[in-house]
Symmetry: C2
Subunit: 212 residues, 2 copies
DNA sequence: GTCTATAAGAAGATAGAC
DNA sequence: GTCTATCTTCTTATAGAC
């Protein structure tokens, strides 16, 4: 009897929850919080609608879990960069390149953040988990900027959060607004050439700002 | 009998439609397309729900009209700047300042654009009116960049749409993501000091990029 | 052009068996 | 822990009178 639980095939709560979260991430990112359908999520899952309510209590509870999971994934990735061992300019270029590639490769994260902003970040505020994840990236940038000024590579003392925002804004906007921007200016922001040019643009803009 | 229609007080279709659009703009910007309630819009209007369907046919028809109206307002404002008469650097600083102030003062527009992106710009694509509004701003920027290079003020040949994107991204992101960004970094992006610093940051970043 | 009342259907949530 | 069937409420949209 216990043997069936041990092989971890059937009745595996972690697997079931993870399965639901992956499907729900896609549904919420595609249709928004109000537009997402619990029935649609249940259909694409290996399990049933009843289990969604069993594990996550409500549609909003599921949405919050999706949001937490997405943030955790991304901040972990950022923390693994080890930028302190690079020269200031190289460290910043690496960070910018990583942020750029990340947003490009994870449009569902970008969309979830946009959706959460439409809701005034009401769910994120209730989640301590999400808030406690973002200190390290700012400390890292602050360190890079200080070293740059000390070494005479950068000539401007900038606020690390502001620099983070300048980088994030461009990388995020390219993905978050690609449909309206693409429609208005008839430009595909996913073309390899365009992407390369944009990556160079934001890196050069940030660095020439710090050097001026 | 005709006298009552002439004084334009009661039964004024333009007034009724405009009234509905103003209320609907707020409702859609606050709750998103799926989250918005036609009943809620009707309640805040001087007229009834029946009239919304009478004039706009459906919830989506109303949403599209709201979107068109918002874009028309903004592009008209931009076109009135007369930047060709200014020196290249001053022209760019004026454009950046205007874009910055505009997005800050019109968060409901920023939200509507975010919402439209969540829907893959599906409604905007069906509206010829919206697409035909955005040529002039790019032509204006192209002219400024050319003059700047010709006069030796700018040292870099940049794509005008890219420059427009760099400016828009920062100004837009500050407003579109203020809730999540504010929550994560415990920073109020609407404080006067912060706003002034950010305005200087994006202007200096763009100009030092073009000059480098 | 405008209003009230209501049809028709969708969607979140749960009961109850296994 | 899991499933099917269903309840209840909410929401878009319309009928029909004035």
């Amino acid at each position: 009897m216990a043997a069936r639980a041990e092989n971890g095939r059937k009745n595996d709560p972690q697997r079931t929850k993870e399965d639901i979260l992956i499907v729900a991430t896609d549904e919420f990112a595609t249709h928004g919080l109000a537009g997402a359908r619990v029935d649609a999520i249940a259909e694409k899952t290996r399990t049933s609608k009843r289990m969604i309510y069993y594990y996550f209590e409500s549609k909003e509870g599921l949405y919050l879990s999706v949001l937490e999971r997405s943030y955790r994934k991304i901040r972990t990735l950022e923390a693994d960069l080890q930028l302190s061992s690079l020269a200031p300019e190289a460290a910043l270029r690496t960070l910018i390149s990583t942020t750029f590639d990340h947003d490009q490769a994870n449009p569902e994260f970008v969309r979830l953040v946009s959706i959460e902003n439409i809701h005034h970040a009401a769910h994120m505020m209730r989640s301590e988990a999400i808030r406690d994840l973002n200190v390290s990236i700012i400390e890292t940038i602050a360190g890079i900027l200080e070293r740059g000024v000390a070494e005479g590579v950068f000539h401007r003392t900038a606020d690390p959060i502001d620099v983070h925002m300048l980088i994030s804004a461009f990388c995020f906007f390219r993905v978050s607004n690609r449909y309206t921007f693409g429609t208005i200016f008839r430009r595909d922001l996913c073309e390899p050439e365009t992407m390369q040019r944009h990556k160079g643009l934001i890196a050069d803009a940030v660095l020439s700002y710090l050097k001026s």
